[in-house]
């Protein structure tokens, strides 16, 4: 009587999904931007507020957009790595200072070092919303045509950088 096996079959199917589910992170939301043009912005420079900086200034370059804030504790974890990258001149990094105060942000950079080619102020978080930022830090990898190629949520670890991001950066820089 196969019909009596149906409940078992149903259970096995659910079980398989639950088992796979154990290895997934339900809180990580993939960005719908991958492969799409990065939203454009023009914001005041953190160090010189009267001068503006926009996405078009990075056209033709492969660059990182790093969303950070002085109130963000996890940002300190990834900061040394960013400073290293800047020293080695691997890739230009633009800092999007998210919902922060200028004096605090500047003090923070003074204390931990400034890896940013340019840091811009997104005081009310409006540009953050355009980029779909939901946690800080977040880092976007943008190619020469202004297309978002990769998004890292949370602090960038050495492992994540070397295994996932760096190869992609090299490839994009070649093309």
């Amino acid at each position: 009587m196969t019909k009596f096996l149906l409940p078992l079959g149903g259970f096995i199917a659910i079980f398989a999904f639950l088992f796979i589910g154990l290895g997934l992170n339900p809180r990580e939301v993939p960005s719908p931007f991958i492969g799409k043009a990065a939203p454009t912005f023009e914001l005041g420079n953190l160090h010189r507020p009267d001068s503006r900086f926009g996405t078009q200034d990075m056209a033709g370059k492969v660059w990182l957009l790093n969303v950070w804030a002085s109130w963000c504790v996890a940002c300190r974890d990834e900061h040394p790595l960013l400073v290293d990258l800047a020293k080695q001149d691997t890739i230009p990094i633009v800092g999007l200072n998210y919902k922060d105060k200028q004096d605090q942000a500047l003090a923070w950079l003074k204390q931990f070092g400034n890896p940013y080619r340019v840091a811009v102020m997104d005081a009310d978080g409006r540009i953050g919303i355009d980029f779909g930022v939901y946690g800080v830090p977040e880092t976007f990898l943008i190619d020469k045509k202004g297309i978002i190629r990769f998004k890292h949520i949370g602090p960038i670890t050495k492992k994540a950088w070397e295994e996932k991001m760096l190869p992609l950066v090299r490839e994009l820089q070649k093309s």
Partner: protein, 158 residues
């Protein structure tokens, strides 16, 4: 749903109080109701499992303000939902859109009932004929039954 009204209004109060952002126009009753309904269907991404109407998180406050601003700017509900989906993906929608991957989600319940009712009716019908063996049969019926049941396993009944 309406419980969300409070939360949305409340967050505006905070937003204006804290950020001093006075760029917000008061919405009329219809606009408020729309803002509430929208906020109640959108998921707060930083929270564990809450709508942006429920959540105290800063991002939720910002997004509620976005809804407000866009309604005041004359955007339609669909446009506002689009705005959210392009930025955060389908994940923000507590009412998943109907598409190939969610077809089973939306049709599943109806399918369950349909299959359940069909199986139930077939079961009731076959069961009645099978349970007929309860009743004393005439010789002719017995023969007929035996022929009908040939091949099938005879079932005990109480």
């Amino acid at each position: 749903m309406k419980r969300m009204i409070a939360s949305v209004l409340f967050s505006w109060a905070v937003a204006t109080g804290v950020a001093g952002a006075n760029d917000q126009k008061e919405l009329d009753a219809v606009g408020k109701a729309r803002a509430v309904a929208l906020a109640a269907e959108l998921r707060c991404l930083v929270c564990q499992n809450q709508t942006i109407a429920d959540s105290h998180a800063e991002l939720a406050v910002d997004l509620r303000r976005q809804i407000h601003v866009q309604i005041a700017g004359g955007k339609s509900d669909a446009e506002i939902v689009d705005f959210m989906v392009t930025r955060y993906g389908d994940f923000v929608l507590y009412r998943p859109p109907f598409k190939a991957t969610t077809a089973f989600l939306w049709l599943g319940p109806a399918l369950f009932v349909l299959v359940g009712v069909i199986v139930l009716l077939r079961f009731l019908r076959t069961r009645r004929t099978r349970a007929q063996s309860d009743v004393p049969l005439t010789e002719a019926q017995r023969k007929m039954a035996a022929e009908l049941l040939a091949g099938a396993t005879p079932r005990e009944s109480q």
